[in-house]
Assembly symmetry: C2
Amino acid sequence: DAIVAAIAQALAGPQRLAGRHAIVTAGPTHEAIDPVRYLANRSSGKQGYAVAGALAALGCRVTLVSGPVALPTPAGCDRVDVVSARDMAAAVESALPADIAVMVAAVADWRVEAAGAKLKKKGAPPALTLVENPDILAGIAAPGPRRPRLVVGFAAETETTREHAQAKRVRKNADWIVANDVSGDVFGGDANLVHLVTGSGVEDWPPLPKAEVARRLAARIADAL
Amino acid sequence: DAIVAAIAQALAGPQRLAGRHAIVTAGPTHEAIDPVRYLANRSSGKQGYAVAGALAALGCRVTLVSGPVALPTPAGCDRVDVVSARDMAAAVESALPADIAVMVAAVADWRVEAAGAKLKKKGAPPALTLVENPDILAGIAAPGPRRPRLVVGFAAETETTREHAQAKRVRKNADWIVANDVSGDVFGGDANLVHLVTGSGVEDWPPLPKAEVARRLAARIADAL
């Protein structure tokens, strides 16, 4: 077993993030409307799970805070399952302190004030009053002693991807934003088209498998720390 | 292979529904709000898939119209995958004529007028204006030459289950309603507590695995035809 582990480690390359702790969020959140209905984001969780696995492969301790997905936990990650955005915010808070935060989850911006009993279909449809969810990325990126050294956000955009992502980086106080162009059919698929927005500018990455986006991002994170 | 098939058929019991065609709906529907957000119902699809499989085991030809779920297709069923309630209604319509319709899917009662681009989180949350979806059960149960001989609806209820289900049976013109008590933790689980509401009254079934609920229902359907 020691031999197998040594071989696995040698194959995995240098443990450049040994001794570091990363919090990675992944998947969608589900916001209950009533006991049977919910509001959700489309997200397979594949990109976030790939990032968590790529960081773990560099020797990083990884806490993977996951919304409802049908994926196996990547090797070397501690997984915390959550459903709603508020649950996810609480789980991220509990996982601090961390050196690295990579917020890949597609968190619902809004939730509905949930009803205790199932809404009945009578007369006119009910109006859904939305209230804003906690902003997990802005929360963890806010200045303070608990802020991870490197905070990376993901942004799914269907239009003017680069500009929105640059504005988001500044607004959220994130170090980097990985902007996903979701105007194609990225959801659930294995390929991704991203731009890496840092303080120095915007890098356009070629279309890559999600696993390769994750490996490149993990390598960049290791360079930056 | 002929021997294996003969043994399988012998083990399956008499093919009491040979020559019949059943349409079974299962799973949730997802109603797009914009390219990344949707409104959904909680439904694993397990009960509907079990019903489809139990009917097929009695020799019935089964068209399984399925919302987004992570389940394998039961043996002997033709599966049609759909996403929204309108897709499901169209797929059910296309599958007619049928002798039997068992509408198990948790169809979203409402949809949102979908936006082409991702809604932005700026200022006050947007108001979601809901519009009513087609009523698939009432549609297939309406009197007419294309009405299946036996139309069975499912009703998920958190309160006063039996009374709501009896009213639903009459309102939808369904022959039977299987009323699910979902006040416990039935979603995604393997057990179910149901009441069978027919024109003769209400039968309270004991708590049973979903597969056994399906077998009993399929046997009752075979008795009724």
